[in-house]
Symmetry: C2
């Protein structure tokens, strides 16, 4: 594989927002020509697939304005400035579902859409779950559901999980169960 990069010749910040910033880069290509690249900057996020002692998986149903539909997802949230991903994972799991986890470990890390965004998601597997009160943020309206492993497996195979991190995390859990 030939390794190269695309040095930025000029950068324009189009938008600085609450969650995202948008930048326009004029870059130099490997053949010496120039092109423009649209880049969405995102602070990064975590997602948590939890499994309770009786084999249930907590899922969060919420309206997503970007896609204009209700989506069923694993608990997730964006990283606060300077926050360790594991701390974000603990916080988001507790805020959204009320659960605290005795065993939380990272099982994957990926870019959600590297063609235009730098968002990196760390996916955690949480077990040893202890129930407690949830406390969502002021502009979050979500409901928590608990599904069995066979229910999530069936829904996955039917293509019912329309959120990438959720489909990925459920597949990871199924691959681990099989092995």
């Amino acid at each position: 594989m030939s390794v190269h990069d695309e040095p930025t010749l000029n950068k324009e910040t189009i938008y600085e927002g609450k969650i995202i910033d948008v930048e326009l880069h004029e870059v130099e290509l490997p053949n010496g020509k120039t092109s423009t690249r649209e880049v969405v900057k995102h602070p990064g996020a975590v997602a948590v697939i939890g499994i309770t002692d009786d084999g249930k998986i907590p899922l969060v149903s919420q309206y997503r304005k970007a896609t204009e539909e209700m989506l069923l997802e694993i608990p997730a949230g964006k990283r606060e400035k300077g926050e360790e991903p594991k701390t974000t994972a603990e916080r988001e799991l507790q805020e959204e579902t009320g659960y605290r986890s005795a065993h939380l470990r990272e099982i994957a890390q990926f870019y959600t859409s590297p063609g235009f965004a730098d968002e990196l998601i760390s996916v955690y597997l949480a077990s040893g779950l202890q129930a407690g009160p949830a406390q969502t943020e002021a502009d979050e309206f979500l409901s928590v559901e608990e599904w069995t492993l066979s229910e999530v497996r069936a829904a996955l195979l039917e293509g019912s999980f329309r959120d990438a991190k959720t489909a990925f995390a459920i597949q990871s859990l199924l691959i681990r169960e099989i092995e």
Copy 2:
């Protein structure tokens, strides 16, 4: 699950670009208050996990400006206006790898990052592959590698695939192989 939505009260288009548009929506929340939602509009994309008759998986290595690194991904590309996803899949597979597929079917469809973007990816499984010349676009610089199933499995478990659609598609293939 309580179903609700977030009607747009005001919308401002911040940016209209080559690949993405950026919108700022003032929305009404279920409690009657208002909030703002940043929305990246994207035409949608397809990704293709192919498997050759001798069990090899074509992967594409390319520099991604948004993440400032080389990434190894399955062939993929954005949908052209009005183009059927299956046509995009055929086109991108051929442009990037040279392969034509006799059997192309959709195995999943998901939003890459529904918290801020409407990008929907359709993932196709391609078999019956016939080699031919690749023809990449003017600003695309990529190299094609062919990996065995056991190589991609090992790399997946090590967390080497840092692109969401690629990690997801490889997991899908492994789950299908197991079943």
